[in-house]
């Protein structure tokens, strides 16, 4: 069955009869496209990590992360790894054409992903409150003047790379959750996302940076609405597998960010 789909990949997509050459990569187009995107995206992250290392390599780098941060980050890592497992289960369920199981596993993946984002957001809020901040971030009420504040003045690259790298990754996780939500629930996901956006916007106080970052959800809402309008079809096993590729990649990137950003900066 899969062979036939692969062979007539182009034909099926366009309703044109005729024979095609076997795909060079032996996979259907969406999968190849996603892999190529991931190759490019890994270079985007790679460049960020190189920038991080380039700044760090000859700088007296601070090591402020204590027990609390490390435990938190470890739980976040476990969340992401488990979400990858549930994603694999979702792909299997989709290949068995078991759509209700697929949806459940996808929702489980999204729950783990959301847990990651929330934990990470709390970590950020905590660090900003302790004084690790960028000049442009809103100053929360009662910001403390601890070791972190000295660090963000003394080695501005520390805060910059921490927030830059993790924000980029968090953005990818957010996009991933929205992507999975669209695959799992299709247009029913849009009102849910809208409610989450509005709720988060009003629940987060204005002196928190996420009060502004939450607008990313609005952009995600608009983009997914446009895509659902352009392609209002049901998503099949292939789509689930492709979204899984993206999700695992987000997981993979964290496997580099976690040791480089957190574990290399633990407090002695």
């Amino acid at each position: 069955m899969a062979d036939a789909t692969l062979q007539h990949n182009a034909a099926a997509a366009h309703g044109v009869a005729g024979e095609y050459e076997a795909p060079l990569f032996g996979a259907y187009s969406k999968k190849v496209g996603m892999w190529l995107f991931l190759a490019s995206d890994s270079l985007t992250f790679g460049a960020l990590l190189f920038a991080f290392s380039y700044n760090r390599i000859y700088t007296a780098w601070p090591t402020p992360f204590g027990k609390e941060s490390i435990i938190n980050a470890t739980i976040m890592t476990a969340c992401l790894l488990s979400s990858s497992l549930t994603m694999v289960m979702a792909v299997f369920a989709a290949q068995r054409h078991d759509s209700s199981k697929t949806r459940l596993w996808l929702l489980a993946t999204m729950v783990f992903g959301t847990a990651f984002i929330v934990l990470h957001g709390m970590e950020w809020t905590h660090l900003i409150h302790e004084g690790l901040s960028l000049p442009a971030f809103p100053k929360p009420a009662g910001q403390l003047d601890t070791e972190y504040a000295k660090i963000s003045k003394g080695v501005p690259q520390f805060a910059a790379t921490f927030f830059g790298l993790t924000a980029m990754h968090m953005l990818h996780v957010t996009i991933g959750v929205i992507y999975l939500g669209v695959v799992a629930l299709r247009k029913w996901f849009l009102p849910i996302l809208g409610v989450i956006y509005i709720g988060a916007y009003f629940a987060i106080p204005a002196d928190n940076v996420f009060h502004y970052a939450v607008h990313a959800l609005l952009i995600g809402l608009i983009v997914s609405a446009v895509i659902l309008f352009l392609k209002p079809k049901d998503y099949d096993a292939h789509d689930v597998e492709v979204s899984g590729l993206y999700w695992h990649f987000v997981d993979l990137v964290w496997m580099f960010i976690f040791p480089l950003v957190y574990l290399m900066s633990t407090k002695i």
Binding site: M1, A2, D3, L6, A22, L24, F25, G26, A27, V32, W35, A39, S42, L43, G46, A47, F50, S53, Y54, N55, I57, Y58, T59, K67, I70, T74, T77, A78, L81, S82, S84, L85, M87, V88, M89, F92, Q95, R96, A237, E241, G244, L245, H248, F249, D251, L252, M255, F256, F258, P259, L260, Y262, L263, M264, T266, I268
Partner: protein
């Protein structure tokens, strides 16, 4: 040509991979938290563990192990090739951000 559904029977291996990933993470955290090695060696060890973890994710979760050889090699070589090139030229060059010895230049002012 490979059929994705064929690997359905070996679902157990994904739990093993998941367990291995969690275990490696625990090792990393332990190494990092107990400061087992001095920083440069630590970086090498952590990066090695991360590469192993990402290989597990790419190979099993992302299914690259079961794709055609040409796809595997093209993707892996092009991306790692770029990283290797960047590695060889970025880091020898990075010592230029090193602050000048014994505090000459603008580092000392202000």
């Amino acid at each position: 040509m490979h059929d994705v559904a064929k690997h359905d029977d070996s679902k157990g291996q994904y739990f093993w991979v998941w367990g291995a990933l969690l275990f490696l993470t625990a090792v990393e955290v332990w190494l990092g938290y107990r400061q087992v090695f001095e920083p440069v060696r630590m970086l090498q060890v952590l990066l090695l563990l991360s590469v192993i973890k990402s290989a597990l994710i790419i190979g099993y979760f992302m299914h690259l192990k079961f794709e055609k050889a040409i796809m595997r090699w093209m993707l892996v070589i092009s991306v790692t090739g770029c990283f290797v090139i960047m590695y060889f030229f970025f880091f020898p060059d990075a010592d230029r951000v090193k602050p000048p010895p014994s505090g000459v230049g603008i580092g000392q002012k202000s």
